[in-house]
């Protein structure tokens, strides 16, 4: 029996993030006051980060059916393709990165990769979705440098290529950057592992790094509360050791391939508490564990500290009785700790012992079943007004060359080469589309197939119109996947929002989730995994609602891979879709006119699907030589990016067949959705048109590739005319220059 230690002070449980009614519920469940260790365990398991109290009911709306069989695991999800399972997930590490960018980002990468190999899959690629405030502020430059350093430090050492992602810069992220890491792994479908503890008498084995005081309260105190002014929470940031993780990957996959393992789970957020209680819960069993056996790196740790620690690179394994030595030998071969700390029991109780005494005794169901909160939402005042734009008050600039050059050097649009150069994006020898296209593409050994992956989300769109913004994020991710020649297959999401207890913030969340659910359902793309990150607020206010979408797609024949760069002189340039007079919410408005408002471009899912299908069909038939989604910066920027390709060969272009009778700036820089810039040999156009007509997709030849200049005409008038190499230089060096000269 557990000793009665008396009632716990309000201030203590409140500081741990528990409400008065939560505390009363704990007493009801236990039939007594909780011990300090038990209180700590409830506080982390019921934190928003682990328990999803504020989001669970809405997330149920996300569709889970698609063309491929869907796998929903305990820590990640995926799809089945033939004999293989593709497992993937995206997760946030925003608050730790804001405080300590290198370690915050590094451990974010480490954590998401553990979620993949704990499922028995070998991690084959990482992506990331990053948001920072303007680079004119020194702290934001420090953050960008530190985050990139953390990602390269961890990912490069592991030998998991960082193949893609996206970065946006906006004032709203000053004070709360977003660092979302996505990882993809592949396994034989019959070798997938579960995160369960089952079979009374089986052993519970702790493997990996020793436990220290780092990261205590990371999920509850740090991830589930808003930022204050200070950085006194820095001790809650964990420290990453990629070398140990690399050994852990190899040892885990080796051990799983030999058998003898019932279940395995990583110790991420909420550390031992989470892995013990959730493995017991998912296995409908109990676990009896002795903390004295847990390898420590610090003296004198209290039992609650051991249970809450978020020290990195640790896993918990449930091993069949009698096979412990065999499994432990593999981990020892990799010079890792592997210690039996307990066993599975038949009673549904998680029992924790310390120095011969029982310090916690809780039914796992109670820990896993975090309370579900009734949330209320309210449309923010003024949310209708900011969607209106009086474009007549905005003059069309005279010198469009200058405007174009300025726009293309805006960090959100500029090349991310300074970033991806620092990532090993080729290790594992699977990367068949180098960075600088719409999606990353990885080949699958022994087959003709490939996996395409992309991340997407325009936070400004979601701020102005969360429902439409989320639909656009899904649509654009799918368009990016299609432009690489792949069929969109499945989604993971990372939903970054402010404090959900504020009704206005919850309104954004609710509408964004609806937007994702409706568009994914319409396209038949399942959401197989994801993560919610609330409390992304600084004293200046919440970040833009940022529901980042990570999507993967399948290419049946990688010989038909498509990239965004123009390939040949005299290829025709084709526009799929139509340009409308839509200036609202554009990067052009923000950068050139300093206006953040206006209607978000329209999105019609039916039309989007037709255009995407037409483009993909043309790629599969081999009619197109390049394809590129038209997004931030509009048509002019998309054409320029196709001129640049991956930087190894740069071609000019002449665009001389734009017939839309709309404002010139909207024509060039407006962000109408469902558009793709493609190129093809001119003898292919008839075939392209036939497919487009069959699908009901508008298609126009707007110009041709070649030469050394990028020239855009409206009628007879040349409205843009720039040497393409100097434009490339501006675009490719913009971020580096801003970091160096500090503005």
């Amino acid at each position: 029996m557990i000793e009665n230690t008396g009632a716990i002070d309000k201030d203590i449980y409140r500081a741990l993030g528990l409400r008065d009614e939560d505390y009363r519920r704990i007493i009801r469940i236990l039939g007594r006051e909780p011990s300090p260790t038990e209180l700590a365990m409830f506080s982390v398991e019921w934190s928003e980060h682990c328990g999803y109290s504020r989001s669970r009911s809405l997330l149920k709306k996300l569709p889970r059916k698609g063309r491929y069989r869907v796998l929903i695991g305990e820590d990640s999800g995926g799809i089945v393709m033939g004999d293989s399972a593709i497992v993937f997930k995206m997760e946030s590490h925003n608050h730790p990165s804001q405080l300590e960018p290198k370690q915050g980002a590094a451990t974010g990468v480490g954590g998401i990769i553990r979620d993949i190999f704990t499922a028995g899959a070998r991690p084959i690629a990482s992506l990331n979705s990053l948001r920072f405030g303007p680079l004119s502020e020194p702290y934001n430059r420090y953050l960008l440098k530190g985050v990139v350093d953390g990602i390269q430090f961890y990912g490069n050492c592991l030998g998991v290529p960082t193949v893609g992602g996206e970065v946006y810069f906006d004032e709203s992220y000053s004070g709360n950057c977003l660092v979302n890491a996505m990882s993809i792994g592949i396994a034989r479908k019959d070798k997938l592992a579960r995160a369960r503890a089952q079979g009374a008498g089986n052993s519970i084995i702790y493997v990996g790094s020793s436990t220290g005081r780092d990261g205590i309260g990371g999920c509850s105190v740090l991830a589930s509360q808003e930022f204050g002014e200070g950085d006194e929470k820095r001790p809650s940031v964990q420290i990453g050791d990629p070398f140990t993780e690399k050994c852990l990957i190899e040892a885990t996959l080796e051990a799983l391939s030999r058998g003898g393992i019932v279940g395995i789970k990583d110790m991420g957020a909420a550390g031992l508490t989470c892995s013990i209680s959730e493995m017991a819960f998912d296995g409908k069993a109990g676990i009896d564990a002795d903390l004295d056996k847990v390898p420590r790196r610090e003296e004198g740790m209290e039992p609650w500290e051991v249970m809450m620690s978020e020290s990195q690179e640790r896993m918990l394994v449930c091993v069949k009785k009698g096979r412990e030595d065999e499994v432990m030998r593999i981990f020892h071969k990799w010079d890792l700790n592997a210690v039996r700390i307990g066993e599975v029991t038949g009673e549904k109780v998680v029992r924790i012992r310390n120095k011969g005494r029982i310090v916690a005794e809780i039914p796992p169901d109670a820990l896993a079943d975090a309370p579900i909160f009734k949330m209320s939402s309210k449309r923010p005042a003024g949310s209708g007004r900011i969607k209106r734009l009086n474009a007549r008050k905005l003059p069309v600039p005279e010198d469009l060359n200058k405007v174009f050059t300025k726009l293309i050097s805006s960090p959100t649009i500029a090349s991310k080469e300074w970033i991806y150069r620092q990532y090993d994006h080729m290790v594992q020898a699977k990367t068949i589309s180098l960075p600088g296209s719409d999606a990353a593409v990885l080949r699958l050994e022994g087959t003709k197939k490939g996996i395409a992956a992309a991340t997407d989300c325009n936070g400004l769109y979601c701020y102005l119109d969360p429902y439409r913004g989320a639909q656009i994020a899904v649509s654009e991710a799918a368009r990016n996947i299609a432009c690489s020649g792949a069929e969109p297959a499945a989604v993971t999401d990372c939903l970054n929002f402010g404090n959900p207890d504020k009704e206005e913030t919850y309104w954004y969340f609710e509408n964004a989730v609806k937007g994702i659910a409706d568009s994914c359902r319409f396209f038949g793309i399942p959401v197989v995994s994801g993560n919610v990150s609330f409390y992304n607020e600084s004293p200046k206010g919440p970040v833009y609602p940022t529901p980042a979408i990570g999507m993967i797609g399948i290419i049946d024949d990688t010989a038909r891979l498509c990239t965004r760069g123009f390939k040949n002189e005299d290829d025709i340039i084709i526009l799929f879709g139509e340009t409308k007079e839509e200036l609202g919410a554009s990067e052009y408005l923000k950068e050139i006119h300093g206006v953040v408002r206006g209607p978000v471009p329209e999105i019609n899912l039916e039309r989007e699907k037709r255009i995407r299908t037409a483009v993909l069909e043309c790629i599969k038939k081999g009619y197109l030589n390049s394809a590129h989604d038209c997004s931030e910066g509009g048509l002019a920027v998309a054409v320029a990016e196709s001129c640049f390709g991956d930087g190894r060969r740069i071609l000019g272009a002449v665009i001389d067949n734009l017939k839309e009778k709309i404002r010139l700036d909207a024509l060039l820089f407006g962000e109408s959705q469902s558009r793709v810039i493609a190129s093809a040999n001119k003898i292919m156009f008839n075939q392209v048109r036939k497919i487009a007509e069959k699908e009901g997709a508008p298609v126009t030849v707007i110009g041709r590739a070649g030469g050394r200049r990028l020239s855009i005409f409206r009628g007879q008038r040349k409205v843009v005319d720039v040497p393409v190499k100097s434009l490339y230089k501006t675009w490719s060096l913009s971020i580096e220059k801003r970091l160096e000269r500090g503005s």
Binding site: L158, D241, F243, K246, D335, Q422, M426, V427, Q428
Partner: protein, 231 residues
């Protein structure tokens, strides 16, 4: 022929080397654990890229003390072919099998990209299929590839024809601009005096198939295979 690929804890290009040697070039390849008591029969040993022991200290500084290194020194002493790629090159330097040392890249950042390298010596067992002066397009991916050697050492390397690869422009010109990491004299790869131990920073195993962007790396594997066949 048979390649032996050494696996240190933290090696991460071991599987890629295996794939290139076995799946692309059709030769036998085996992994050798760094604590292996017996060293397998092999015609060529590959020390692959990665972060052996995390490389938290100087790169390769711990790996050189690994039990396998004694066998590799013996193997090289008997004239066996050894190729160290990236981290493997760093380990060969630390182990004293090759002269010089590795510094952090002059830009102080990790660099991953395709570069051009010029074959400066095509009469080694590793480069015979390349041909003299041939420019190869092969990617680099490293944080410490800034090869350093003093003036006397450099002179010796030059006189003995030990400089095998230099970073260059696409047309083969060896320029400062083409040097990605600040390496002395644009050095990307060197051999020992005897010519049977090669260290190179670029990754030929990542550039042995057109799907990956270049097949030039396969020329290095082919040279090794031809050489082994002749013996």
């Amino acid at each position: 022929m048979r390649f032996a690929i050494v696996v240190f804890p933290g090696s991460n290009c071991d599987r890629d080397c295996h794939y290139a040697a076995n799946k692309v070039l059709g030769e036998k390849a085996v992994f050798v654990w760094h604590k292996a008591k017996r060293f397998p029969d092999a015609d060529c040993v590959i020390l692959p890229g990665g972060f052996s022991y995390g490389d938290y200290l100087r790169t390769g500084a711990i790996a050189r003390f690994s039990p396998i290194m004694k066998h590799i020194v013996d193997f090289a002493g008997r004239g066996g072919l050894v190729i160290g790629i990236c981290n493997g090159f760093q380990i060969l330097l630390e182990a004293g099998l090759l002269p010089g040392a590795m510094l952090r890249n002059s830009g102080l950042r990790f660099i991953c990209k395709y570069v051009h390298i010029k074959t400066e010596n095509a009469s080694t067992p590793f480069t015979a299929s390349c041909g003299a002066g041939r420019v190869l397009e092969i990617p680099i991916a490293h944080n410490e590839g800034n090869f350093y050697i003093d003036g006397k050492g450099l002179k010796e390397l030059e006189e003995n024809g030990q400089i095998v690869f230099r970073y260059c422009e696409a047309d083969g010109k060896v320029t400062k601009k083409a040097n990605p990491n600040g390496a002395v004299s644009n050095i990307a790869g060197i051999v020992n005096k005897r010519g049977n131990v090669l260290g190179m920073m670029p990754h030929p195993e990542r550039a042995s198939e057109s799907a990956l962007g270049s097949e030039d790396g396969a020329l290095i594997f082919k040279s090794i295979i031809d050489h082994a066949g002749k013996r």
